[in-house]
């Protein structure tokens, strides 16, 4: 089961974690991009916190994720703004007015979020983008749930897969995003967006596992 309270908790704690890692994300982006990913994400999640304060008590899942997505779309800018914005927007659309959903329904919502990032960014796997963290994570999540694991255990598997996905971006040559302008020189650098995606999933696993 995944509830609105957990959703709010996930997002609030994500804001904190992104804040802590902002400098690291920006450094990664400076190496192969334009050095603003951490700043963009931190600015966006500060706006997310403000939006959440404006939400009524016990707002449903659709409302929570819609608020998150609007804040990100309106404040992040860059490539990651529309992408993460689409991610949460689709999750919210999927979960609608429920305040609590089954594990499978939540996994399906995350999948819908992923699909809409793909639709917006038109990147492919191994283009050295956030997809390379999100895709293996969701695959691991679905597999674990299919094995009968509970959501917490499945999300730990997802987090682990995302971490490997991030590491796997290092040898890749970027084909989307600013890093792609570097061609060969984008090799041997870790993708900032994949890194932030991993952080986001890590917080989700912690929340659901009550850590």
């Amino acid at each position: 089961m995944f509830s609105s309270e957990q959703a709010v908790d996930w997002v609030r704690r994500t804001a904190a974690v992104i804040g802590e890692h902002a400098t690291e994300l920006t450094k990664l982006d400076a190496a192969i991009g334009d050095g603003d990913h951490g700043t963009n994400m931190a600015r966006g999640f500060r706006a997310v916190l403000e939006r959440l304060d404006g939400l009524p008590e016990g707002a449903n899942l659709g409302a929570v994720f819609k608020a998150v997505s609007m804040a990100l779309i309106g404040k992040v800018g860059g490539a990651s703004g529309p992408l993460y914005g689409s991610f949460y927007l689709a999750i919210g659309r999927e979960l609608g007015d429920a305040t609590e959903v089954e594990d499978g329904a939540f996994a399906a919502a995350l999948r819908a979020g992923y699909d809409s990032v793909v639709a917006r960014g038109k990147a492919q796997l191994e283009d050295k983008t956030m997809l390379d963290a999100l895709h293996p994570a969701l695959a691991a999540l679905d597999a674990a749930l299919a094995d009968g694991k509970d959501l917490g255990a499945a999300l730990d598997a997802a987090e682990a897969a995302a971490r490997e996905g991030v590491a796997a971006t290092i040898p890749l040559i970027a084909r989307k995003g600013r890093a792609s302008y570097l061609g060969e020189r984008s090799r041997d650098h870790q993708d900032p967006g994949a890194t932030s995606s991993h952080l986001i999933l890590g917080v989700l696993a912690d929340v659901v596992n009550g850590r």
Binding site: T39, G77, R120, A174, R175
Partner: protein, 333 residues
């Protein structure tokens, strides 16, 4: 980091406030969301031009809002694409019933944010076209990648298309001209120093005392190669060569040459560069009939320059000469 700014988070807003105070006769600024627009917007029956991009490239784009050029510009945070709400607000504000053209530089962020804005605006019935400029030959093009960046050619595009719209041409004609310009303009730049993004506080990249970054982007993205310092003429050869080749210029053709400062390189050095570009084109039998020299699409205080060449025809020459009156470009008015 030593900059003439107050709080880092206030930089873009305070700069826009000063800009509006200085040029209130030509432009107004909306602060939530950030949009610079013509005081006389919307112009009924005129195709409206909306551009936008990260801040830190001044005078682009806000400095090009005004008669004969843009109707609105959407400044993002420093080096960060603006957000869809900005472009949507701008599009509604300047729509004079003849449709709106979005001028987008080819960066995934810019494209995605403008896309979202276009979706929102069309829902509300505004007719929106968009063109993507990708003139940077430093980036090898390919179907499988992001493709080339939009750089110096953007300034020339906005001037020419702005004149076309000012003439009263319809959205189709204005959009076609944009594609024509994009097909005939190429650029390449270099950096002698990095710039410091205020929010970061440290140089985006480190460049040795004797190093030059060739093929730099306008956001301090590293270029394609790093070489040791050379003479102005040698460096000019490295930029002009690929630009001329990629344009496929032939003897007898007429061009506009635009030598741009990245922000920290003084005018006197731009003329040294222009001198050699003129020598190169002269040897190739290409005639420079128009030119633009100065800091117009910058990367904060970065030292370096870019060279842009536009193939001219009679219409483009006429549109270039057409009156323009904006904070940054003005003639015939």
């Amino acid at each position: 980091m030593k900059k003439l700014i107050n709080a880092v988070d206030d930089f873009v807003r305070e700069s826009l406030e000063g800009f509006e105070l200085a040029h209130g006769d030509l432009v107004k600024v909306n602060y939530d969301p950030f949009v610079v627009y013509r005081t006389d917007a919307p112009r009924q029956g005129k195709v409206a031009l909306v551009s936008g991009g990260g801040s830190g490239h001044e005078p682009m784009h806000g400095g090009f809002v005004g008669r004969g050029m843009l109707d609105a510009a959407c400044p993002g945070e420093v080096f960060t694409s603006p957000t869809p709400d900005q472009m949507e607000w701008a599009t509604r504000k300047v729509d004079g019933g003849a449709g709106v053209l979005h001028i987008v530089k080819n960066y995934s962020g810019d494209i995605m944010n403008f896309e979202m804005a276009a979706e929102l605006a069309s829902e509300s019935g505004t007719q929106v076209e968009s063109v993507v400029i990708d003139d940077d030959v430093a980036v090898r093009d390919s179907l499988y990648t992001q493709g080339r960046r939009g750089v110096g050619g953007t300034v020339l595009l906005e001037k020419l298309v702005g004149a076309k719209a000012e003439e009263g041409s319809d959205l189709k004609a204005v959009t076609e001209l944009s594609r024509d310009v994009i097909a005939n303009v190429r650029s390449m730049g270099l950096a002698l120093t990095s710039c410091i993004v205020p929010a970061a506080g440290t140089p985006t990249f480190e460049l040795g005392d004797n190093e030059v970054e060739i093929g730099i982007g306008i956001h301090g993205e590293p270029g394609r190669e790093r070489i040791s310092m050379e003479s102005a003429d040698e460096l000019t050869d490295r930029l002009a060569g690929p630009v001329i080749e990629d344009l496929g210029l032939n003897e007898g053709e007429e061009v506009l040459v635009f030598v741009n400062s990245m922000g920290g390189t003084p005018l006197a050095e731009l003329y040294v560069v222009y001198r050699h570009v003129a020598q190169i084109l002269d040897q190739g039998g290409v005639r420079i009939t128009r030119r633009l020299i100065g800091p117009l699409i910058t990367s904060l205080e970065m030292q370096g320059c870019s060279i842009t060449i536009l193939r001219l025809d009679d219409e483009k020459t006429r549109l270039w000469d057409a009156p323009v009156h904006t904070p940054a470009l003005r003639w015939g008015a």
